[in-house]
Symmetry: C2
């Protein structure tokens, strides 16, 4: 038997790392869905031990040696192998910058903060979370500074790069700049136009089990594999797991017949992305998703663009009748469409329409940068949130749960994450424009409950590329055009103004 090459040995090591990451995913899923609340400390120790293990593996002298030896023979590698080697090196570079003791402290602080966030929401009091969040921010900043030193970046950029490789704050600022030239007016115009087309309110109580039944039917039509995945409830919807065991959650509210479904569509978009990743690279770095902005593009394409289209409503309506016994004028295609696409300046990101959504992201981006730079003390977050909310959205949240306790991200130590939601929407807009050009029948198919054409395009152009290309290159590859906010703005303009 021939000896394994350095590159082959690296694949073997990263296969082990992939297994551990799958385990970490399960530990997190369990913590949010099934774990007893009092077990957070035990879970924190387990997460910390396993994260240290991953870290130790990544930064080991053996991996460094193998990377150097594989680099020296890089010409012998095929292009996917080269990209895999590049991603291995990238992961190690990130890991080496953060010492194991800090990794462990972050893991423990985050496990506690997650529990505090839940308690704070129950008590509707940001003060319950604040001290623990302060600890998380402090530790995240320490990490960012170490990364920044290694990569010669601004600390916040260094964190953001870990989530969305290839996109730095200058790219993000450019995209947000394009958006800000048109969006604020577009919101005002859309609201004015919609004032002439009111949507009848949809009353009633919709039990979690009915909402779940509806979601299951929609997810089945989209091809979610229930023999290799789960669908559960949690405080905040999320997708966790690995291809082969993908777990999606939703949150159902009794008086909201559609919000839970839209959340499930969002998460299913991410799950389908994960499931479409290149099978032969599933346990290697190059076989992973291309970061948060890309994940979000897949989520928002389903939730915002497809899930709120006239075509989708045409298909969905009979299902609403089946699960909710929906009858009456308020359940007509036209009223449902109006209802789903209502533009309004509200307090919640998760409930926001696709126009004001960008305002919510901008607010978080700004507060995060200020909190991160030390310009805003964590204990003052509630006041700053409420002030900025008044300025941008014209409203002050009536409670912390409706305000600064909306999202779990910061409690989880996810800084640099929020902007990827905005960029994700922009990418989704660009992908959608390309799909409609390449596959003009896509909307007719959706109206008939056929999603295979849409998914085949996404699999071929986006999912199957894994982490082979950077974010801007991947968008260029998928659409044959450079990444730009213009297609997204064209989509919004057509939907909310021209075809309103």
């Amino acid at each position: 038997m021939a000896t394994a090459t350095p590159y082959q040995q690296l694949e073997q090591e990263f296969r082990r790392l992939h297994a551990f990451r799958g385990v970490l995913a399960l530990l997190r899923w369990d913590a949010a869905v099934t774990m007893p609340r009092g077990s957070a400390d035990v879970r924190g120790d387990q997460l910390a031990a396993l994260q240290i293990e991953c870290h130790t593996l990544l930064v080991s002298p053996r991996i460094s040696r193998l990377l150097d030896r594989a680099d020296a023979n890089a010409r012998a590698l095929a292009d996917w192998q080269s990209a895999n080697l590049r991603e291995m090196r990238r992961l190690q570079d990130h890991a080496i910058a953060t010492p194991p003791s800090l990794v462990a402290r972050i893991a423990k602080a985050v496990a506690r903060a997650e529990v505090r966030w839940r308690e704070a929401r129950e008590q509707n009091d940001f003060g319950v979370l604040a001290p623990q969040l302060e600890e998380v921010v402090k530790l995240a900043r320490s990490k960012a500074e170490l990364l920044a030193q290694r990569f010669g970046l601004d600390p916040w950029d260094a964190l953001a790069d870990e989530f969305t490789p290839g996109l730095l704050s200058r790219d993000i600022d450019a995209i947000f700049g394009q958006l800000s030239q048109r969006l604020p007016e577009l919101v005002t115009e859309a609201i004015e136009l919609q004032a002439h087309k009111p949507a009848a309110t949809i009353d009633g109580r919709f039990s979690a089990s009915r909402q779940r039944g509806l979601c299951l039917d929609v997810m089945k039509a989209l091809g979610f594999p229930f023999d290799r995945g789960r669908f559960d409830e949690s405080d905040h919807p999320f997708t966790e797991g690995v291809p082969g065991d993908i777990r999606v959650t939703a949150k159902f509210r009794l008086k909201e017949p559609l919000q839970g479904l839209l959340g499930a569509l969002h998460e299913t978009g991410q799950a389908l992305y994960d499931l479409g990743l290149p099978a032969e690279w599933v346990d290697q770095p190059v076989g992973q998703d291309r970061g948060m902005a890309l994940e979000e593009s897949q989520s928002l394409l389903l939730e915002m663009i497809v899930g709120r289209s006239r075509a989708f409503v045409t298909w969905l309506r009979p299902l609403l009748e089946t699960h909710y016994g929906a009858a009456g004028a308020e359940w007509s295609d036209e009223n449902l469409y109006r209802h789903l696409n209502r533009v309004a300046r509200g307090p919640n990101r998760m409930d926001a329409d696709e126009l004001t959504y960008q305002t919510h992201i901008g607010l978080r981006y700004e507060l995060e940068r200020r909190m991160f730079s030390g310009d805003l003390a964590v204990r003052d977050l509630r006041a700053a949130w409420n002030d900025l909310s008044a300025d941008r959205l014209g409203l002050v949240p009536v409670s912390d749960v409706e305000g600064c306790l909306q999202d779990i991200h910061w409690a989880l130590g996810s800084f640099g994450h929020f902007p990827s939601y905005g960029v994700g929407a922009v990418i989704a807009g660009q992908l959608w424009e390309a799909i409609r050009e390449d596959h003009p029948g896509v909307e007719a198919e959706i109206a008939a409950g056929q999603f295979s054409g849409l998914l085949a395009w996404l699999r071929e152009r986006v999912h199957s590329m894994g982490a082979k290309l950077g974010v801007p290159q991947l968008v260029q590859h998928a659409t044959d055009r450079p990444l730009s906010a213009a297609p997204f703005l064209r989509y919004l303009e057509r939907k909310y103004i021209t075809e309103n």
Copy 2:
């Protein structure tokens, strides 16, 4: 800061191992309770990767070196530390005998066999499981032979020692010898006596949610900590987890109002044992339970001795009224007591009374030894099971599910496990005799729903000893008498003959 001693460094390493073992416990719980069926291969890879990690840690030259250096300074250690060091050494000795490649092959084979076992039960066909079980037996035998070489034991003994340290097959044979002198006749006599005291059948349909509600009330009274533990359903009841996150499962059958509860009592007994382990040693080898026979003694004490006593029935009856709306003569204390203690030769171990239970264990013990020695081919297990069942129990199972597919143990690769059920019952009998002597009010307390006296005794004499003593020494410590089947036989004699 003083440098850590070799012993202190060992504690640190075993703390990490404890975290990984807690993660393995969660992976197993999830596989049985929440995991999608098609994800078994992914889970197998995860279990294998983590088990290899534990194995690699245990057998590392660093641990060997630290063990040698700690041994050289053993006089400086307190007695719990000495016992901990002895248990560390014992774990390493066991681990070194089994190479990582074999550990990985066993983990994967077992993950597949678990799925096959479920499928075989659904199809009521042992043939579905047989090929995979053959693979598991083959691998278990390879492991046993390696252990046997290292410890100079018979291969089966070498496996059994891993589960019940300090008890070898000669001890097991001696205990079973004591039992066999009296039990077969005792069964016949009990059945004859009970023929004069028939139990009225308890009809009705008892939904899983009602049965669950009853179990929750009983578990609360017993002190099960629901803020640091869970109670779920699975195909086969089990307890999994670590103190701080203990998870118990039950199986409910619609027409059986009490079997699910008794299973839950069984598992709660083990969970309370785990929760009573010495808190300061929770993450160290000496702080773990003293193996399967001891676990089983705690389970059977609750399920068989306490849970089927007149005292317990007195307390339980009003709860049955609350949860089942139970009314009528068949729900009287006397009839419930008769119902719970019916002696009958039936096909199922899980449903067996405490007299014929030993027959079920004997049958498995014999078949396992024959299968293990190669004397019985795995594909012939069904026929051998049915023959032996006819001989010992006077009946042939009507189906594989009622016969050789009853238990998951062999599919999980657990050989040397079954005898510990029989020994566990014997230990439970000896503990119960000692408790009644030390604490004569115990039955009156149980009748009033007060379990704290019973639990305090068990905590002090058994649970808090962790793995400090071997099984026979622990029983001697708890009861001031050597391990013997005599107290168990006295208990049975009194219950089924004298006080019948």
